[in-house]
Amino acid sequence: MAVGAASGRVPDVESLREYERRLEETTLRPVLVTSSWYWVLVGVLLAVIGVGVYAWTTQLDNGLVVTGMRDRVAWGLYISVFVFFVGISHAGTLISAILRVTKAQWRTPITRIAEFITVVALVCGASLIVVDMGRPDRLLNVIIHGRWQSPILWDVLAITTYLTASVIYLGIPMVPDVAYFRDRMASMGHRTRAAFYRFFAIGWEGLPGQVKALSRAVGVLAIIIIPIAVSVHTVVSWIFGMTLRVGWNSTIFGLLFVAGAIFSGIATLVIVMALLRRIYHLEEYITKVQFVNLGYLLAAFTLIMMYINLSEYLTTGFKLEEGEEFLFRQLFLGQFAGLYWFYFIGGLAIPGLIILFKRTRTIAGIVTAAVLVDVAMFAERYFIVISAQRVPLLPYEPFDYMPTWVEWSIFAAAIAFFILLIAVFVKIFPIMAVWEMVEERKLLGRDGESAAPAPDAVRGRS
């Protein structure tokens, strides 16, 4: 009604319906229309995964001797990639939970994408742990003989809990959107597909009671998932922090890993959302606002990361206990110097500057910054894991670890699996939280003075 007066862009009920309809069509399009490029992508990804699977069978046959790891450096690329993946899984938590709790409204169009990333990254990360095991056939020993005193068990508990919570947190807010898919599929005569969506829609009819229960559940989940997410990367860091090794024996590791996780999570989200926006023409919904705001967060985290680095390396470097000098030399001057300075300059300083200056604070600039951050964070995970193990603990020559083709193939397969899962997800589930975006629009309207629009605007059967 007469709400337009308050601020120019507040919609009335009619244009709200129009907006919703457009939005629904946009989210439905990837599910209904698949270009041949999609199949090309899937084919390439499957090929890469195939190579990785072949590499893994080689490893299963011959043992971990086919990797570059040996007794002196017993953890290598696999563990680094695991840490990296669990890190980017924090994208979802930050965007959908922390920003939801703080009521940042620009986040709604990208919450779904962020939650996809969370679930998919956790699946990829967890599988790498199995790949790294010397005896994957004894995986169940962790449950049969598990000791709660071990950091590994903390990880198992934290990651399974986080995965469960993330799946629920992905599924619950998706219920109304899936219900729309269900209705559309039914009306188009796709019976199996409709049945599929009926399962995920758990009887959603858009009744006011359901709406209330849903928003309440989402609110509760958003709060529950924050401590879970923080705990996950904290205990991942404690796998290293609970040892006496120079370079790992640090009290700040939990903080460093959680901050790094959110940092790389934001970067991954920026990249994925830029790609999906481009491919599925979401420009109307995912605008520069999202990029700029995530860019600001990214810039803030570059400073946080620099601060934690300073704090870690100054407190240890100042005292220079046994072994620290060796660590510092290889990190800042020696064989890890390239990685370290790329991380510090290319991954922290330059992305911060790109976002600082208005001229470069464009979508392209922010995506560039995000790519730099992701690569740099991977480098960081790698040198944190490897460099500490390279410090000799007894009088022997340091061992130089170099990943073999098996490790690189499995690494590539993990990345491909990550992309593939997102690609599959996009084809099945709504990529934007239509329901929440409409709610948000409605709230904008209500801020004027009009009464709430009829509840069936949320979504009844059409």
């Binding site: 011959n62 043992g63 971990l64 001797v65 790891m69 040996r70 007794d71 002196r72 017993a74 953890w75 095991m133 010397g134 005896r135 004894r138 995986l139 020993n141 962790v142 449950i143 049969i144 003989h145 598990g146 000791r147 005193q149 071990s150 590994i152 068990l153 198992v156 508990l157 399974t160 469960t164 919570a165 799946v167 629920i168 599924g171 619950i172 758990i202 959603w204 009744l207 006011p208 009671g209 359901q210 209330k212 229960a213 849903l214 309440r216 559940a217 509760v220 529950i224 796998i239 609970m242 040892t243 006496l244 090794r245 790992w248 000799p392 603990l393 009088p395 022997y396 009829a454 509840p455």
Partner: protein, 342 residues
């Protein structure tokens, strides 16, 4: 030990979460209806449908929440056989007290077998006795620089820590401390995660990166963590302090093989140790000779003690001008050859 507690905590946490969510949700629905935030609509007519939906909804949330339960409770359920793999019953000394095995390495008598013109005998005897797979050296001898120049030799078995970082981090209790004070590994339980290797501050753990070569006689052995024969792919191994040999009344392979009698083995409880030639009182021997442990500041409390020295008791000169660092023959051995073949 804490089976019941862990189970209880798991169940209570999950149930609390479940009911908290339930109460919150139901209150919300009731409150919402009372307030009637949607006055323009007819009030929700059908109570049955509403509560039915809510129930389905809650069921899904609840089942999701419950799926966390197994991770919480399962180890406790299965753990009835305790976290520790089985070994023989501990050896006892006078008065029925449990033996506390210890090893004392007298560096004054160690010349790295330079006088023997051979690789260190302790290392080779250990490899042959345990049929340890190439290239593991459970008791490895390092040549270490001394502060004033020159070198000394340092044989390093597993330190058998009494505050063992490896045992503390093992997720499955495959590595464990025995009542006799040794740290053993159960290769039938080890999952090969290698966190113990990351945690060991002495780098005294070795991994079977590939299928270890199994000599025929190893197949006859009855596997026990006490001797770790036969070796298994994908598991961790290390010096086990030969508790089975001690129980049988013999010295470990390394001690037996040392031509200079540098390795003493004994029982802290009975305060006695021997290198096979002389018998010493452990406490007097350690104190009067200023015994040390490696990396004492870490607080790992090793059971392996060192008497400082550089081979002077066997006439070794630490300063040998222009000598290249010692390289043991098997460093250049071709790949695939087997150390235990003799």
């Amino acid at each position: 030990m804490t089976i019941a507690t862990a189970l209880l905590i798991g169940v209570v946490v999950v149930l609390t979460l479940f009911f908290a969510l339930r109460v919150l949700l139901s209150r919300r629905v009731r409150g919402g209806r009372k307030e009637g935030s949607a006055p323009s609509e007819d009030l929700q007519p059908d109570e049955a449908i509403l509560s039915g939906d809510r129930r389905t909804f809650l069921k899904v949330v609840g089942i999701g929440g419950l799926s966390v339960l197994p991770a919480v409770a399962l180890p406790a359920v299965f753990n009835s056989e305790a976290g520790v793999a089985s070994t023989e019953s501990p050896a006892t000394g006078p008065g029925g007290r449990i033996r506390q095995w210890t090893m004392i390495i007298d560096l004054r008598s160690c010349d790295g077998c330079q006088s023997q013109d051979s690789p260190p005998k302790c290392t080779t005897a250990c490899i042959e006795g345990h049929l340890a797979p190439e290239p593991m050296e459970w008791i490895q001898v390092f040549e270490e620089e001394l502060e004033g120049g020159g070198t000394r030799f340092l044989p390093t078995p597993c330190m058998q820590c009494q505050n063992p970082p490896c045992v503390n981090v093992c997720p499955v209790g495959a590595t464990f401390s025995t009542p006799e004070g040794a740290v053993l590994i159960d290769q039938e339980r080890c999952i090969g995660c290698r966190i113990c290797m990351a945690a060991c501050p002495y780098d005294r753990r070795f991994f079977n990166w590939s299928d270890p070569p199994i000599p025929p006689e190893a197949l006859l052995a009855d596997y026990s963590p006490d001797h770790q024969i036969p070796a298994t792919k994908g598991t961790v191994m290390k010096c086990d302090m030969c508790p089975d040999m001690a129980r049988a009344g013999t010295l470990p392979y390394c001690s037996q093989a040392c031509p200079n009698g540098a390795i003493y083995y004994g029982d802290l409880e009975e305060d006695i140790a021997t290198n096979g030639r002389e018998i010493v009182s452990v406490s007097r021997f350690l104190t009067t000779n200023n015994a040390e442990v490696l990396k004492e500041h870490l607080g790992t409390k090793p059971r392996v003690f060192y008497i400082p020295g550089h081979g002077e008791a066997v006439g070794r000169d630490p300063f040998t001008e222009g000598r290249e660092p010692t390289e043991w023959p098997w460093v250049q051995r071709v790949e695939g050859s087997q150390t235990w073949s003799r």
